[in-house]
């Protein structure tokens, strides 16, 4: 077992803009554009950005739910895009996902037992009784007690928080090495959000060192409370990447500054003193475009930013930033 769980190299996903049945356009939406990073085993990575920044596409690429335009993803040193469908299905239990849409990710025609039993039936040869025992343990560990009551419920008979717990139970059932959680709390109210965050922490502590998370969110406070490293994305590109604490206390990229200033802070003094800056609308990136993608919203933009795309450079404190202010 190596220390390196996930290595993403120059990952790109361009979606062609289809104009009609006959004409295929030469224009592309760059959903993910040249993303590279390395995740160590046991690490928790946050991916932040506004909606449309390519976070979910990145997650779907890492899980090979879609094929990349170019680039590679190594999971446990295996290039997942070189695997056959069958080999990939065997690898899938190790990498799980918790989807953003809490309700739509559960089959409405199956009860909780069937939803969870399917996981075991697909990847283990346990008997019916053993599966039931496992499901009971699983439901207890995600806080759905008493388990025998919840086992026979259908998704529509559960509350939003309970559904999310079923989703989490399904994801952890086969003890994966990586869980990607896409906006895991966006559908929940504040108190439930707290409980789910605690559940994530609890599961992480229980399997410390063996489990890694990628938490995708636009919610800086969630990222701050849960993650060790943070990757900030803007229109498909990495704009900043490094230690979560450093990035949130001292953002370097103008976009990160903007994101963090939009977070409500419970302390009224800080709230009153900080200057919020939000301006402009995100542009859609088409292939014809060169220059910094943040150019039209950035208060520090120069002529250079308009013409050339800033490279991702390493700063002295170990973080990476893609901005002409720092290179």
């Amino acid at each position: 077992m190596t220390d390196e769980l996930l290595k993403v190299e120059h990952l790109k996903k361009y979606f062609p803009i289809r104009k009609s049945f006959f004409k295929r356009s030469s224009l592309y939406i760059k959903a993910v554009d040249d993303v590279s990073f390395i995740m160590r085993r046991g690490e928790i990575l946050g991916v932040v950005g506004e909606s449309g920044s390519g976070k979910t596409t990145l997650a779907r690429l890492i899980l090979r739910l879609i094929k990349p335009t170019s680039g590679t993803v190594y999971f446990d040193n295996i290039d997942i895009f070189k695997l056959s469908e069958k080999e990939m299905r065997r690898l899938r239990p190790k990498m799980q996902m918790i989807f953003q849409d809490v309700t739509a990710s559960l089959n409405p025609r199956k009860n909780v037992r069937d939803i969870l039993a399917q996981v075991y039936k697909t990847h283990t040869s346990l008997s019916k009784k053993e599966i039931d025992q496992n499901i009971e343990k699983l439901l207890i560990s995600v806080g759905l007690t008493p388990p025998h009551i919840f086992m026979n419920r259908y998704p529509h008979e559960l509350s939003g928080g309970q559904r999310q717990r079923v989703n989490i139970a399904r994801a952890i059932a086969l003890e994966p090495e990586l869980i990607i959680a896409d906006e895991p709390t966006s559908a929940l109210d504040a108190s439930l959000k707290r409980q789910i965050v605690d559940l994530f922490k609890h599961i992480y502590e229980e399997r410390k060192g063996k489990l890694s998370y990628i938490i995708i969110s636009h919610d800086i406070s969630l990222i701050y409370s849960l993650t060790q490293k943070t990757l900030v994305m803007y229109l498909g590109r990495m704009v900043e990447y490094g230690d979560t604490k450093k990035i949130i206390h001292d953002p370097k990229h103008p976009y990160t500054m903007m994101l963090i200033s939009a977070v409500p802070i419970p302390d009224p003094d800080i709230e009153r003193n900080r200057k919020i800056f939000i301006g402009g609308e995100p542009m859609t990136l088409e292939s014809a475009f060169t220059g910094c993608p943040f150019y039209n919203r950035c208060p520090f933009a120069t002529e250079k930013c308009k013409k050339e795309t800033p490279p991702l450079v390493r700063l002295d404190d170990g973080r990476y930033v893609a901005c002409w202010l720092y290179s």
Binding site: R60, L63, L65, M88, R89, R90, L91, R92, P93, M95, Q96, M97, F99, Q100, D101, A104, S105, L106, N107, P108, R109, K110, Q118, V119, T122, H123, N167, R170
Partner: protein, 284 residues
Amino acid sequence: MILLFHSLKKIFSNLNARLLIGILLTGVLTILGISAPLITWYPPLTAMLGPPYQPPSFQHPFGTDDLGGDIYTNTIYGIRTSLIVGALSALIALIIGIIIGSVAGYYGGFLEDLLMRITDMAFIIPQFLLALIIVTILGPNIYNIILAIGVTSWPGIARMTRATTLSVKQQTFIEAAKVLGLSDIKIIFSELLPNSLPPVIPYITLQISSNILVEAGLGFLGVSDPNVPSLGMLLNNAQQHILMNVWWMSVFPGVILSLMILGFNLLGDGLIEYMNPRLRRKMY
């Protein structure tokens, strides 16, 4: 027991009038068809059971035909034929339609384009004429009739299935199943179909109704199995002797046929409304 009674009462109070009448009509006709040998007292398709061209009487409630055959007996046996042909041909249509619709909707891309263009073509082609040609050329027996109606009536089911498949496919639980490592076949059967098929169910009854109509239409044009009594055959016979003003030869088989089609239409409409109460405003 009381619990059972209450749940039955609840189910029935939720049913709309159309659905109730539809269940009643199709139910009664099905029972008549099944019990044909018990409620008739002559053998079917037999001549000279009485004088020819007799108006309705006690011995012959629906009168007799040109050969002195009993129209009541033949009509009751005809119900059975209509139901069997309607249901089996709808089953064939259902199997073809569901496979084509599900594959097109699930895989998308070129395969979907191809399959849906084929469906478009099958939709435009005059299905009745095609069925008629198939049966005449292959020979007018009951199996060819079922087959011909089945293979010409699937496009509606295919379109319907594709539409529901597309909407279910977008649901995240399909992707969730993929993340869990389920194979495509497994996903189609355990995740997709259980959700995409229920909305198609009411259309099966409408398909049965339209297939019964086609079967009777073929029979009316003289394309029927000569060894199997059918309502279309009776109406064809009535047509050949219509100028003799023997109204009973046409009226009784026709009323039964209309009631059967009405019953399945009501059932279908009622089911659509029952399964999707928001449509109530739009339905009849």
